[in-house]
């Protein structure tokens, strides 16, 4: 058995996928002709207004003043073709890219009972991806194609001889020379043509007539020119106009991500990272590689990761092109340790962190790691680990007194000294006589590196009104309140 998936008005549909606002308007596709631009395809609304393929652009506009004329967009058509193929590969590995918007599937390896449900599922999937299609199911590729072309959108039409009989002769695509001959004989349907003896048709119309008769009977069969599934998971989109806001960019990315997720699933692989490149109008390019917390095939999760990242991005100019590449790998299957502190929802965690980072700014969210130095307040923020190992036995709080709450940056202070010890402190929010002063604690470092040398004198003080503070004295800058012991 063979099946054919058919997307009518494919080139137009490829445009409508990314510009859904055009859906309710008369729309036509222009291609260069011998005498200027002519219409190659138009939608039903344009046809209803009297526009037909072959019309020149002015003629179409005269018939339908509101018609929207668009040139062909090869990138969009290529993406739509890849989407159609990806959906087809979800049914079988024997897929032929027959023509733009048409692919033929060999269903020998699929149980007969699953033919119809699988095709219906794929049609629903394609509709969700912005490619409304129809399908035909028959014993030959040709019969399946006839059926697909005449099936209502979103439905599967089984093709048989009875179905063929009332179809017009044009369905078998006769040559311009043969069509008027048949019409003069009064033969208008495939049924009327196949009612004639095959040998008689061959005798009168020659080899071409014989081929037409065989096509009309749906007998022609052929091996499929099988296409290879995607090996690289990439998407590319060049914008007709510069994109200046996030919404249209996300809309385009969603379409591409849906297709790439489908291709990944067909290849039984998962995305490990997303490489995103944005071409900018000032000839610059923004590039970012987003490593995912766990391998993933879900389009929703991939899209969320992109969205959370893009919300933090500000480009220097409008976006003229988008390149997306998924780094694929095997889906990891791992059993979590009984006492591991793993994440319940790793993608949700990454998503939350990305959103919080977008809110507070880069470098202001993460796990703090103190630097290996005695210099005060030097640390870095790194990504939290995916799992937390249990602590070793006997772990307890370190015996080091009250922890510090830092004033960041340190608050400048005026300090009065008595016998070389702080006796009075005055700073924003901190003021009073010093009842106890412990120190000085001297610290210095990086004296061997110009520009990084530091030296300070620290005092721990208790104020008469309550409160324990750390004061720091820097040789050239004076006194500061570094923080409060709390």
């Amino acid at each position: 058995m063979f099946a054919v998936l058919c997307v009518p008005a494919f080139a137009l549909q490829a445009i409508l996928r990314v510009e859904p606002a055009l859906a309710g308007k008369p729309l036509a596709l222009l291609v260069p002709g011998r005498r200027g631009q002519v219409i190659e395809e138009c939608n039903e609304l344009a046809i209803a207004e009297g526009v037909s393929p072959g019309y020149s652009a002015p003629r179409a506009q005269a018939r339908c003043p509101g018609i929207i004329l668009r040139p062909r967009q090869p990138d969009l058509e290529s993406d739509a073709r890849d989407t159609l193929l990806a959906a087809a590969f979800g049914i079988t590995a024997y897929v032929e890219s027959t023509a733009p918007g048409i692919c033929t599937l060999g269903l020998e390896q699929l149980a007969a009972a699953r033919h119809l449900p699988a095709l219906q599922h794929t049609l629903a999937q394609l509709a969700g991806l912005g490619l409304p299609a129809s399908a035909g199911l028959a014993t030959t590729p040709l019969l399946a194609l006839y059926a697909a072309r005449h099936a209502p959108p979103g439905q599967v039409l089984p093709g048989d001889r009875a179905f063929l009989a009332p179809l017009p002769v044009a369905a078998a695509e006769p040559s311009p020379e043969l069509a008027p001959v048949l019409a003069s004989w009064g033969i208008h349907t495939l049924g009327q043509l196949t009612a004639l003896a095959k040998a008689d048709v061959a005798q009168r119309l020659g080899r071409e007539g014989l081929a037409l008769w065989e096509r009309a009977a749906g007998e022609t069969t052929r091996p499929l020119d099988v296409t290879c599934p995607a090996q690289e998971f990439t998407a590319r989109f060049d914008c007709e106009h510069e994109l200046e806001t996030l919404e249209p960019l996300l809309f385009i990315l969603r379409r591409s991500v849906d297709r790439l997720a489908l291709e990944l699933a067909n290849a039984h692989q998962a995305a490990l990272a997303i490489d995103l490149a944005l071409d900018l109008a000032d000839d610059a390019q923004y590039r970012q590689s987003l490593r995912l917390p766990e391998p993933v095939t879900s389009a929703d999760i991939l899209f969320r990761a992109l969205q959370a990242h893009l919300e933090t991005v500000r480009t220097t100019a409008g976006i003229t092109g988008v390149r997306l590449r998924l780094e694929a790998g095997r889906i990891t299957v791992r059993q979590q340790g009984l006492f591991d502190g793993g994440l319940r929802d790793p993608h949700g965690f990454a998503d939350t962190l990305a959103r919080v980072t977008a809110l507070v700014g880069a470098g202001r969210a993460g796990r703090p790691v103190p630097a290996d130095t005695h210099q005060p307040d030097v640390f870095s923020l790194v990504a939290p680990p995916p799992t937390l190992q249990p602590l070793s036995a006997g772990f307890s709080l370190p015996p080091c007194g009250l922890p510090l709450r830092r004033h960041r940056p340190p608050t400048p202070a005026r300090v009065a000294l008595a016998e070389a010890r702080p006796a009075y402190v005055s700073a924003a929010g901190v003021e009073g006589n010093v009842t106890t002063a412990i120190g000085p604690w001297l610290g210095s470092g990086h004296w061997w590196e110009a520009g990084r040398c530091w030296h300070q004198e620290e005092w721990d003080v208790e104020l008469a009104g309550g409160g324990l503070y750390r004061l720091a004295h820097l040789p050239r800058q004076g006194w500061f309140v570094e923080g409060e012991y709390d």
Partner: protein
């Protein structure tokens, strides 16, 4: 006006909520802090609910309290999110092992801290959310609308997240528990073992709500 059966049902729900405050909402067990001053009074930090810790005096031990929460959650291999509106957390005051499970958010102001807390409260990966507003200017804190606190409370309800808000004065209208730390430590605290200091922390319980927060609050 409620009809007869509806009002009876409502009364029954109220009675059950009063008698069995935890069971009424299917709440998770409280998060035990390891501090006798809190655990003996309330059983720990309720989940999912807001607990407010008012830090009314300087050096009152609020950072010590936060450190105890860090230690408890680390021992259980739970994740802790700290939203720090004053950017005051000092990583070098803690051993690195205590910080492995910590996600520290350095917010610039109170509004940013509230927005970050709202995002984090919806993440199922955290066991504890600490919102530190002590260093935020009082004017900023007063500008936080009370609806924001109820929104945060609502965000917590479907989770098992314990949330602690550290404030300089009573601020959180939807707080399930409100404690106050009101005595400053003396300079001898700088020499004492931190576990000893932590165990001695004894915040005063200012508020404890039972039952449905929406109904009471």
């Amino acid at each position: 006006m409620l009809s007869g059966p509806t009002s009876s049902l409502s009364a029954l729900r109220q009675l059950l909520a009063t008698r069995f405050p935890t069971a009424a909402h299917g709440r998770a067990a409280p998060l035990v802090t390891g501090l006798p001053g809190i655990d003996e009074l309330t059983g720990g930090l309720p989940r999912p609910a807001l607990t407010e810790m008012v830090c009314a005096a300087p050096s009152c031990g609020s950072q010590l309290f936060l450190g105890q929460l860090l230690a408890v959650t680390r021992a259980e291999a739970w994740r802790l999110a700290l939203v720090d509106a004053g950017d005051a957390f000092a990583p070098d005051s803690w051993p690195p092992a205590h910080l492995e499970h910590l996600v520290w958010i350095r917010a610039r102001d109170a509004a940013e801290a509230m927005a970050a807390a709202d995002l984090l409260a919806r993440d199922a990966n955290f066991a504890l959310l600490a919102l530190d507003l002590r260093h935020a200017p009082r004017a900023q804190l007063r500008r936080i609308p009370s609806t924001s606190w109820y929104r945060l409370q609502r965000a917590l309800e479907p989770t098992t997240l314990a949330t602690v808000v550290l404030t300089p004065f009573p601020l959180v209208p939807s707080a399930h528990l409100r404690f106050e730390l009101n005595s400053s430590h003396a300079s001898d605290a700088l020499e004492q073992a931190r576990p000893t200091l932590a165990v001695r922390l004894c915040p005063a319980l200012l508020r404890q709500r039972h039952g449905d927060l929406a109904a009471t609050g």
